[in-house]
Each structure stands twice: as C-alpha cells, then as structure tokens.
C-alpha cells in the first residue's frame, strides 16, 4: 500500500517535471560562463523552480519517514495480536 503510494508519487513527480520541461525557453548553455550582468528578468522565473526543488525534498523526506513509521506500527499491531492470540490459547 505504502510502496504503491510511493511509486505513484515518484511517477507523478517525474511526469510533472517532464511536462513542465517541454518547451525550452532559451538555447542550452554549455558551461556556466560568468556573466556579470544579467537582465533582472532572468532572475525572477527561477524563484518558483527553487521553491519547487526545496518543497519536493521536504515533502519526499517527510512522506517517506511517515511511511516507515506507519509500517512499523502495522507490524507491531500484528505482533500484539499474535501475542494476545497465544495468551488466549494458553488459558
């Protein structure tokens, strides 16, 4: 269940990136050549990308930690159920 959700998340994230990546706005730059002056218009569009990158990292990490925590809870529940069953049978 959790793995499935993880897989879906991954696939969705990948497809979203791919869709956004479709029309290249500017020709590919080959290396970063230091340019002292860049028009301010160049600076603005990168903000959403930076925000997106950081939020992806945060969300993925927290989601993954949550899935592990949930799976541990499930296994512990099973163990308790088994112990209870054994206790009942022993009586």
């Amino acid at each position: 269940m959790v793995r499935r959700m993880l897989a879906w998340l991954f696939v969705t994230a990948a497809s979203v990136t791919a869709v956004f990546a479709q029309p290249p706005q500017e020709p590919a730059r080959e290396q970063y050549v230091p340019i002292d002056q860049l028009p301010p218009s160049e600076q603005m569009p990168s903000a959403p990308l930076v925000v997106a990158a950081y939020s992806v990292v945060w969300l993925v990490a927290m989601f993954y930690a949550w899935t592990i925590w949930r799976r541990i809870g499930k296994v512990e529940d099973d163990m308790l159920a088994l112990a209870r069953k054994q206790k009942d049978a022993g009586r």
């Binding site: 990948a14 990136t17 990546a21 590919a28 930076v50 990158a53 930690a65 592990i68 541990i72 163990m79």
Partner: protein
C-alpha cells in the same frame, strides 16, 4: 543507536529547519543568482544516495558470505533509502537544469549514472516485492553488481560531452557558500542514517514477526 535515535532526530529536524536561513544568507552566484541555491539540497541528496547505495552493497556482501540476516536487513534499508534520495536528486536536478542549461535532461555521464543507479535500485525493490522465495540472495547480488557497473557506465558515457559541473566545483566553493553547503551535506547524511536505521528496524521487526508466526504454527 536506539538511545541516540531521538536526540539525533531532533538534531536533524533542527538542522533542516535552520538550513533555509543559512542558504538565504549565502552569497548569490554570479551567473545563476537565486537558481544556484538549488545546489544546497541537490548535491547533498546525491551524497546521501551514494552513501545509502554503499550501505546496501556492504549489507549485501555481508549477507551473501555470512548468511547473517542483519546484513540483509541493512541491504534492504539502504536500497529503499537510496531510491528515495535518488528521487530527490532526480527532481531537483531537472528543475535546476531546465533554467540553467535550457533543457531538463541531457545524456551526460553523471546524469546517466544517476538514472541508472536509481533504476538498478528500483529493480532491487521490485525484485524484493515480487520475486518470491530466494530473492533476498539475488537482490544482494543486484546491489553488488549495480555498484560494479558504475565505473563502466561512467567511462562509456564520457564520450558524450559533459555539461554537468565537475566534482572539483565542491572544494572550490567560495567561503559563504561553503558553510551552508557542508551544513546541508551533514544534515542529509544524518537524515539518511536515521532513515536507514528506521527502515532496518522495520525489517528486523518483520523477521521477528515471521519467526513468531512460524513458532505459532508449530505449537
């Protein structure tokens, strides 16, 4: 590890909470300005992934040659965490490249290896999930072979022109950028260790549960 887990978790949370402050104060890079700040999370996520891959391969070797279940638990945990950090790197990377290179993807040595390692470890997880009996040994082999494959892919793809910044960029970071960078690397590695520990604990619990079920069936 058990005693240190909660304090370390708090440390990791605090580090991740403080990281944006440090990153915001770091100087702007001359060509990419704000965009370059993706680096502080992009590069550390790859560091963490390679560390997790190494953990998985070591756990795999340990398991193949000693038949010790703990090695297998470590290998699974490492593989899953590696896929997770790889997914982070593979989303932040194209977001950066989209603006910096104009294209989101290039068949360049580093990008190809990253994708291939990610695919190798997704295959590892698929094998664990659907492989059935005997797949634990085979998956250990997959982790080991996956690691051995890296230099070949790297060399093979070198003929494609590399536009990814070289590794030498890292030690040459100017002061002001260096501190937040290493702060983030340390934070990611800590997070990676904690996640592997958590995941290995889950696997250990599952083994215990299976043993309990077996014992229950026999009695």
């Amino acid at each position: 590890m058990k005693k240190a887990f909660v304090p370390l978790l708090i440390v990791a949370t605090l580090m991740f909470a403080y990281a944006p402050v440090m990153i915001a104060q770091a100087p702007f890079e001359s060509t990419m300005f704000l965009l370059q700040k993706i680096m502080y999370f992009h590069v550390p996520s790859w560091f963490a992934m390679f560390a997790a891959v190494a953990i998985s391969a070591i756990g795999g070797i340990w398991y193949i040659f000693t038949n010790d279940k703990r090695g297998d638990q470590l290998a699974v945990a490492g593989a899953e965490v590696a896929v997770m950090f790889g997914a982070m790197g593979l989303t932040t990377g194209p977001l950066w490249a989209y603006k910096a290179w104009g294209v989101a993807w290039q068949w360049d040595a580093k990008l190809t290896i990253a994708l291939l390692l990610e695919l190798t470890f997704i295959a590892y997880l698929l094998l664990r999930k659907y492989g059935g009996p005997g797949s634990d040994k085979l998956s250990a082999g997959v982790a080991l072979f996956g690691l051995a494959n890296v230099p070949f892919v790297y060399y093979a793809v070198q003929l494609w022109r590399t536009i990814h910044p070289l590794n030498t960029v890292v030690p040459s970071l100017p002061p002001g950028m260096r501190e937040p960078f290493w702060f983030c690397v340390f934070g990611f590695l800590l997070l990676m260790t904690l996640l592997v520990a958590m995941r290995a604990r889950l696997e250990r619990l599952r083994t215990t549960l299976d043993d309990l079920y077996l014992a229950d069936d026999e009695s």
